[in-house]
Symmetry: C2
Subunit: 387 residues, 2 copies
């Protein structure tokens, strides 16, 4: 274990963003790309600090080997981009979507890329935009690649975001008792975290803020991605599984716990123990140089040997950063080594229909010689019986 | 003007969804497609009633000319899809994302499409998924096309959604006065609408619920898509521009007004009048058979003749439905005729830096012989001075 880095709430400075762009350009050079075009609003946010919910009007960031990046934007949005972006951008605005002939987004866009050049595009770029992209195209996620290992600034932001969800999770556990409806809990926990975000970061951009606080009671905790009904009630016993997630002015983190109300049903003890030990196994493997796919294989093997192989339905973990779900993955078949400054969830789970789900999740930073958990809540069974 | 249809809050029945699928298949036949593949979570929701925030794990709906549609889903999500979808689906689940060789989503997906067949895909389909789609591919947005003209059921849902935002906007105007911060207003208006959604539709799916209530004060109302800072304050005078938007258990609608606090600055009177008249012009043109691009051209011409041509930054309107922004468009260059049962916003705007923005928006249904406004709030200048 290592010390937790200090939290940061300030917006990124120009140096931070130039550094990110520099890394993207290094990869462009390695892949011999003349241009890289980003459409994904998440990647555009990463490089420019401009965030948006993109509807039908495309925003396109065109990066060349050097010079000021170009951005194709709807006329309507130009001043919005200018007010939020950090670092120089050369704007090329288009009339509207749709637009009269010759003034559509693609008319403007196509003039900015030379036809005989090599152009990298994201796997996430919509086919309709890729189709209108000139040049010799290659799908390559180089911004996503750069995002896999975090900068010190990003880590500081995530540390702060974890403070918010740690407090949110503490509030959540306080109000859980049989009969409490999902909706009441959701309002209380998200309201609490939202107030804290606003207090800590009065200049927060709400487009990249989100809070979730929910509990899956035992009647459906075996189905971890179902959306609970608003008036689903917490029940006596368990396993209940909590989810507290926040994107705090751009940085997404999560904490989740398996807990019980008043007592632990006898049948729940063994799967809880198996989940707990699988998690310990995963943590023991968390250090730079370990193959991430192998961690998941070993965890799955362990759970299977405990007799719960049929109840594994997801990987051991996923990356966190400016989203709550991203590369890298602790997932079988993901052949990549852990590196310092990766930020991942660790959350092996067991899901037994008729009994419930068993999963703890934490947001964890890989350090030079191991890891440090950025989230904090009770972990042991005895500390997770609420009465 | 016509009568407003009755609001509906019930979930869609099987007949409604079969009807939608039937229309998609008619277009497949017309375009000679053997398969149509939908990735867009919005289109999948439209056809199946299953909504999700898709992260990295793809969901793919494969429609053939006949038979039960197939859905490629992550193993983790299968029971979630089953619990929310309406109508039969044949599930093909994959191990995880990423996954060991041979068990990835594309391994499962590629087995379901015959290589020599013609496959329609959406313009929104990510390039990385299109690349792994077998067959002879053609980009054609046929589900989006079907969504342009609403069914009676969809209209009923939108009518109900408009009742929520009408009430929300009324609350908004009640609490506006100089010095009120954005955040306080946002919390009050969204809280009010959320409570109403929950009361009206206790079984609402929160993945497809959203509420927004905000005001652009005169110091930045000229920039309609900027995201207001949390503690931006309302000011004496105006123009302030309100935005009340809600997606009510899947159906998105909007209402917006230009209003003033305590008095109307002299300089604001003429542009308000020009906006008001441009809007009347647009309404006078709203009936089946009118070219939608031409409506926008005429409105732009009118505003230009009034001397505000340099201050037009967006089209006259856009479609509404299961999203808040979609085809069809009242936009120059959009060469299509209005039809009964289209649902659109009507919102010509004038944006003058240093003075502010002028825009009313309503959600409007096209009827057999004209239109009916589904939203309701004061429209005349005299009724929009709050003191």
């Amino acid at each position: 274990m290592n010390d937790k880095p200090k939290g940061i709430t300030a917006p990124p400075n120009l140096e931070e963003l130039s550094n990110r762009l520099g890394k993207v350009r290094n990869l462009m050079l390695q892949e011999n790309l003349d241009y890289y075009v980003s459409f994904d609003p998440i990647n555009i946010y990463y490089l420019t600090n401009f965030a948006n919910n993109v509807h039908e009007r495309p925003f396109l960031l065109i990066i060349e080997r050097e010079g000021i990046p170009k951005m194709v934007v709807p006329l309507l949005e130009k001043s919005h981009v200018e007010s939020r972006s950090i670092g120089e951008l050369e704007f090329h605005s288009y009339y509207e979507f749709p637009a009269p002939q010759g003034e559509n987004w693609y008319d403007i866009y196509q003039k900015l890329i030379e036809k005989e050049k090599k152009v990298g595009i994201e796997a996430a770029m919509p086919s309709g935009i890729a189709e209108k992209t000139p040049g010799s195209k290659v799908i390559t996620d180089i911004i996503d690649e750069v995002r896999i290992v975090k900068t010190d600034y990003e880590i500081g932001r995530s540390v702060h975001a974890c403070k918010i969800i740690n407090r949110g999770h503490k509030e959540l556990l306080k109000i859980c008792r049989p009969g409490v409806p999902e909706f009441a809990l959701y309002q209380k926990v998200t309201g609490f975290m939202t107030s804290k975000i606003v207090t800590d970061i009065p200049s927060a951009n709400f487009i990249v803020c989100k809070t979730v606080g929910a509990v899956w009671p035992p009647s459906f905790s075996h189905d971890p991605h179902i959306i609970p009904k608003l008036f689903a009630e917490m029940e006596e016993g368990g396993p209940h599984v909590s989810i507290v997630y926040a994107q705090v002015d751009g940085y997404g983190v999560e904490i989740e716990r398996t807990f019980f109300l008043e007592h632990v049903p006898e049948k729940a003890k063994k799967p809880f123990e198996a989940m707990f030990q699988a998690r310990e196994l995963a943590y023991n493997l968390l250090k730079p140089g370990t193959n991430m796919g192998e961690i998941d294989s070993k965890v799955r093997k362990f759970i299977t040997e405990k007799g719960y192989g049929d109840y594994i339905i997801h990987r051991t973990g996923h990356g966190l950063g400016i989203t709550g779900h991203e590369a890298p993955y602790l997932a079988e078949g993901y052949d990549r080594l852990l590196e310092p400054n990766m930020l991942i969830s660790v959350e092996p789970g067991i899901y037994i229909p008729g009994l419930g789900g068993f999963r703890h999740s934490d947001s964890v930073l890989i350090t030079d010689d191991g890891y440090v958990k950025l989230t904090k809540a009770p972990e042991e069974l005895n500390d997770l019986i609420i009465s």
